[in-house]
């Protein structure tokens, strides 16, 4: 009897050398976090759906694989470590003590429309820093994230940084909720024709920031972005080869206004700093993170929370490439710099 080796769309098996590569990378990065005092959390693959209803937006709910077990309970397969960790840690924070530094590793499984090349099962390693106040938590999280990428051997990652909700006020000016969300999506797509009528957003689409930060309508935000820009330049000097860019367009849909929030994507819990890393020849996204204090607050825990996750299978893919060639490019001529 012949048994098919075909797997469902979006999942893969790793056997032998491929499995070893991923496990070695996972072990290397986990070891770094353990050496720095992070404690591991081993989280279950299944959980009840009900506790997540108040804290997950529509997009996050839609990506759950759900089923009814033999006892009639509605369960879901783990799609995202952060909300699961938050729901389990929130009641235990007093016992854990603050600050708490926790890491996790394993698979998440996300229901996605049948889309060629898109994975449904992802290997991740991530970390969370709870109870560290102010910017120190954000700095620590991003520095650790960069440190792990460097330790893994990622050359010249591109990091994009923003602040969740930075464009909310501009998006909502004189627009309905659906119009504002449509405009946010257009900004994320860098769609000039859709944002042409909003000069502040045209600048964001082209260069990541408006020419005048004051046009965002929030002096505190403007000051924060200036400070963030300075910090990005500092990171580039302390991490040779790194490119860090403040780009509000990349996270235009990461809204925090209650009128807009909950519909801005599956990871809609970010409410402060957000960042994403691209690496490799194809500039693939290899990890992301940010602040999500409000996620814990909604679970009744008064704590700060900043974290990140790294896509291990994507990282292995990037590390197995030939080294990329750095190029200064103008479409029309190239001055190529071999690496």
């Amino acid at each position: 009897m012949r048994i098919s080796a075909e797997l469902p769309i979006g999942v893969a098996a790793l056997i032998g050398a491929a499995a070893t590569r991923l496990r070695r990378l996972e072990g290397l990065l986990a070891g770094e976090l353990e050496a720095d005092g992070f404690e591991e959390a081993l989280l279950p693959l299944l959980d009840y759906v009900d506790p997540y209803q108040p804290i997950l937006g529509a997009a996050a709910q839609a990506e759950l694989y759900r089923f009814v077990d033999r006892d009639g309970e509605l369960l879901a397969v783990r799609a995202d470590f952060t909300p699961m960790l938050a729901r389990l840690l929130a009641p235990r924070l007093e016992a854990l003590g603050r600050p708490a530094r926790v890491f996790y590793r394993g698979e998440v499984v996300r229901r996605d429309a049948d889309h060629p090349g898109r994975r449904r099962a992802l290997w991740q390693l991530g970390a969370e820093i709870l109870g560290v106040e102010g910017e120190a938590a954000e700095h620590e999280a991003l520095e650790r994230f960069l440190g792990l990428l460097a330790r893994a051997g990622v050359a010249a990652p591109r990091i994009v940084v923003s602040v969740a909700g930075a464009l909310d006020r501009v998006l909502q000016q004189g627009r309905s909720r659906s119009e504002a969300l449509g405009l946010a999506a257009a900004v994320e797509r860098r769609d000039r024709s859709m944002v042409r009528a909003v000069p502040a957003l045209l600048g964001v689409v082209e260069s990541g920031l408006p020419a005048d930060l004051g046009s965002l309508g929030d002096d505190r935000l403007a000051a924060r972005l200036e400070h963030l820009e300075t910090w990005c330049r500092h990171l580039e000097t302390t991490h040779p080869g790194l490119m860090v860019r403040l780009d509000l367009a990349e996270f235009a849909g990461q809204t925090i206004d209650p009128e807009l929030a909950g519909t801005s994507g599956a990871r809609s819990y970010y409410d402060g700093l957000v960042f994403r890393a691209f690496a490799g020849r194809g500039f693939l996204p290899v990890g992301s993170g940010g602040r999500y204090d409000s996620l814990y607050q909604r679970l009744g825990a008064a704590t700060t929370a900043v974290g990140f996750s790294i896509g291990l299978d994507r990282l292995v893919e990037v590390l197995e490439e030939d080294p990329p060639r750095a190029a200064i490019v103008t479409l029309g001529r190239t001055n190529e710099v071999p690496r």
Binding site: A113, H115, P116, G117, R158, V160, E188, R189, R190, D191, R192, S193, V205, E206, S207, G208, M243, R245, D247, E250, F278, A279, G280, R281, G282, F283, L284, P285, A327, V329, T330, L331, G332, R333, T334, E336
Partner: protein, 208 residues
């Protein structure tokens, strides 16, 4: 050198014309030859010639940095791509077509033929309609002509093909244009060059 993905289909001539107006002539590419991947040092790009439905995946996965593709194909693919501009040339529409007098609600399940099953499902849901979707790879307008389907969701340009087959446009679903598409990570790496290229396309009057 950036990698540019071009569509092999009906939009190629429009894309080449628009890009040439912006100074990206692609004169060195042998479009009549069998080589689907060619480096053009004078233009600073390596060009890939791809089948339209495949192009979004190549750009999304970063195999190509940027490209041009019809919005019908892009939306059907669901690919996560940046779309800085749409070209002026190559506009058409995605429409529901069928025999004159065809009713969408007539007491039995509608049969809809299309190359765009995902788009069809979304449109049907928006209209509160149910239908059996018959996914075809080409000559979609024949389906209602020959009775395979009641209606077809297909691209309409001048309408001459419809008229030649005795069909009419029952409803315009959406306008279709050619989109410049960019890989999200490639945008971060080559933002200055890409912005400059988009500026040149705009200055040449090649974009909507």
């Amino acid at each position: 050198m950036m990698r540019l993905a071009l569509p092999k289909g009906r939009n190629l001539s429009f894309v080449r014309a628009a890009f040439a107006r912006a100074g990206l002539t692609l004169d060195g590419f042998d479009f009549s030859g069998r080589l689907l991947q060619q480096e053009l040092p004078e233009d600073g790009v390596e060009v890939l010639l791809l089948k339209d439905p495949d192009l979004p995946l190549y750009v999304e996965r970063g195999v190509a940095d940027f490209g041009a593709i019809g919005s019908d194909v892009l939306e059907e693919s669901g690919a996560d791509l940046l779309v800085p501009v749409r070209l002026v040339e190559g506009g058409c529409r995605l429409s529901l077509v069928g025999r004159p007098g065809t009713k969408l609600r007539n007491g039995r399940q509608l049969r809809l033929a299309t190359k765009y099953p995902r788009t069809a499902r979304e449109w049907l849901a928006s209209r509160g309609l149910g239908a059996e979707i018959l996914e075809l790879s080409g000559s979609v307008e024949l389906a209602p002509v020959l009775g395979l389907a009641d209606v077809a969701l297909d691209i309409v340009q001048t309408g001459s093909t419809l008229r030649a087959h005795g069909l009419v446009e029952l409803e315009t679903v959406r306008d279709v244009g050619i989109c410049l598409v960019v890989n999200r990570g490639a945008w971060q790496a080559h933002r200055a060059a890409l912005n400059d290229f988009v500026d040149r396309l705009e200055a040449a009057g090649a974009v909507r």
